[in-house]
Amino acid sequence: MSLEGLYQEIILDHYKAPRNRGSVENPDIDIFESNPLCGDEIRIQAKLDGRTIQDIRFEGKGCSISLASASMMTEALKGHAHDHAHKYIDGIKAMMHGEDKLNDEELGDMEALKGVADFPARVKCALLAWTTLEKALNDRAARKG
């Protein structure tokens, strides 16, 4: 896979103009994670309404892949239910192994992340936001018993 497959216009667009960047007031989810390999950092905050993710925003320092992925994630999950988040988390993880669990319509912009599967050193970058959110959701579920 070529560099063009990795650095598609849509990725660069999300990197340069990230969606939903910032913080949420009185967040129900507030999690900070860093990638020990590279020092990249992400903070995800979300406001929940029942089982719906009413608002979700992120802040972070990182490469184009990790920030674009975070930006796309917030777009895909805002206004949707928890289950939707888990479906996407599984789908994006599978995508990194070259597996198609989500269809093109479900993927939208995130189809551009498919190219990352050919760059094993960068898979962690693409997954940072997703695994961080997954941890927050699991922690919250565990707390609620």
Partner: protein, 410 residues
């Protein structure tokens, strides 16, 4: 005579590799160096010809392997100009060497309220072992600040080294900034105040002539794999008067004299500090690496790297979007150049350099997170040079940076 880097490169089988038809340009030398045929052959020959456990066999093969292992120790002693082979302990590398000192020397000699002076530019390996010791002993860590030009100020260091200081531990060459620290002057300061000095030589001894007695340090650590030798072999120098006060590090075979059910007595120096079967095969590789470096000549090598560093700083410095870290004066630095390209994260840069130009560089925090905070960056890109690098490698680096800027242009 001109330094024949292109000729030396031919001695390194891996450097003939190509990616997408392009010759590999390897610039991740501060992480690990490539191995010349002579080192690879020395290790293979040892396994094919001389392999047996050392120090105990009563047969000729074991005598041969013991002689090879102890010969390697003598080689390291000579390379560092230590007074005696009793002062040279083989370890897995610089990290284990520092942990040995923190454990065996530190636990005996550092008490509550004592101070250990480090710098803000240390690799995690020369920071975390002291944090562990300080937590256990309620000792205090003090840090010599890194100045804006990437150096440390001896006057500020002098103010931090006091009669409470038990140890000063610092790198001789920064793995991020390339800064060469004034360890000889620091050794004097430490001595005046009754403190000991550990010098982390992981990034210095592969690239410049080092004399531990001239520096006047009490401990000196190195990693073989950063100086053409195999991974998993390194060394620790400890001045004999200090080593004689230290209890063992690991317990086990080879480090003992007599063992009873309830206690044991210790072997002579340096074997008291080498428990278990040592990594003798790679020690033989380290000896071959030292022979290789000695034949090249450390002064000529340092001059070569200085010229490359100057060329790199010049080429990168004229690029509008590039920020360079570390001293601008090449006389004050080794062959490590850290930089950032505006609008391009170091990881993206590293990926593009690899895929577009077959140039291998490092991107990240370089195991120096506190230094990254001091520089106010999350990460940097890093190119480090060695005896097989040529100016064309830097041209390829610059070309790749242009390509990255093109991809990320706004």
């Amino acid at each position: 005579m001109r330094f024949d880097a292109a000729g030396l490169r031919k001695e390194f089988p891996i450097l003939s590799r190509e990616f997408d038809g392009k010759r590999l340009v390897y610039l991740d030398n501060p992480a690990t160096t490539q191995k010349p045929r002579a080192v690879i052959d020395a290790v293979s020959r040892f396994y094919e010809h001389s392999n047996a456990n050392v120090h105990r066999g009563a047969y000729r093969l074991a005598e041969e392997s013991t002689a090879a292992y102890e010969g390697a120790r003598e080689k390291v002693r000579g390379f560092l100009n230590a007074a005696s082979v009793e002062e040279i302990i083989f370890t897995r590398g610089a990290t284990e060497s520092i942990n040995l000192v923190a454990y065996a020397w530190g636990r005996k000699h550092v008490a509550e309220g004592d101070e250990i002076v480090l710098t803000e530019m240390e690799h995690h390996s020369n920071l975390v072992p002291w944090q562990l010791l300080a937590q256990e002993k309620k000792a205090v860590l003090r840090f010599v600040p890194v100045e804006n030009d990437g150096t440390i100020d001896v006057t500020r260091a002098a103010a931090l080294i006091t009669p409470r200081t038990r140890l000063v531990s610092m790198t001789q060459v920064s793995n991020v900034l390339g800064t060469i620290n004034p360890v000889r002057r620091i050794a004097e300061l430490a001595r005046e105040r009754g403190a000991l000095l550990l010098v982390d030589g992981a990034q210095s001894v592969p690239h410049m002539a080092v004399d531990v007695r001239d520096i006047g340090c009490d401990f000196f650590v190195l990693s073989g794999h950063k100086m053409l030798a195999p991974t998993g072999i390194g060394a620790l120098y400890v001045r004999k008067a200090v080593l004689e006060t230290m209890p063992p590090f690991h317990g086990g075979g080879d480090m003992i004299r007599q063992v009873f059910l309830d206690h044991a007595t210790w072997n002579d120096l340096p074997w008291k500090f080498e428990a278990g079967t040592p990594n003798f095969a790679d020690a033989v590789g380290l000896a071959a690496a030292i022979d290789f470096l000695s034949a090249v000549g450390l002064d000529a090598l340092q001059e070569h790297e200085r010229a490359l560093t100057g060329y790199a700083i010049g080429r990168l410095g004229e690029m509008a979007g590039v920020t360079l870290y570390g001293p601008r004066d090449v006389a004050l630095r080794g062959g490590v150049v850290s930089f950032n390209v505006e609008g391009v994260h170091p990881h993206d840069l590293a990926t593009i350099l690899d895929r577009e130009s077959a140039v291998a560089i490092r991107a990240g925090h370089h195991c120096a997170q506190p230094l990254m905070k001091r520089l106010n960056v999350a990460a940097t890109a890093r190119a480090g040079f060695y005896l097989y690098n040529v100016e064309e490698d830097i041209d390829r680096l610059v070309e790749g940076i242009h390509k990255a800027e093109e991809i990320f242009k706004t």
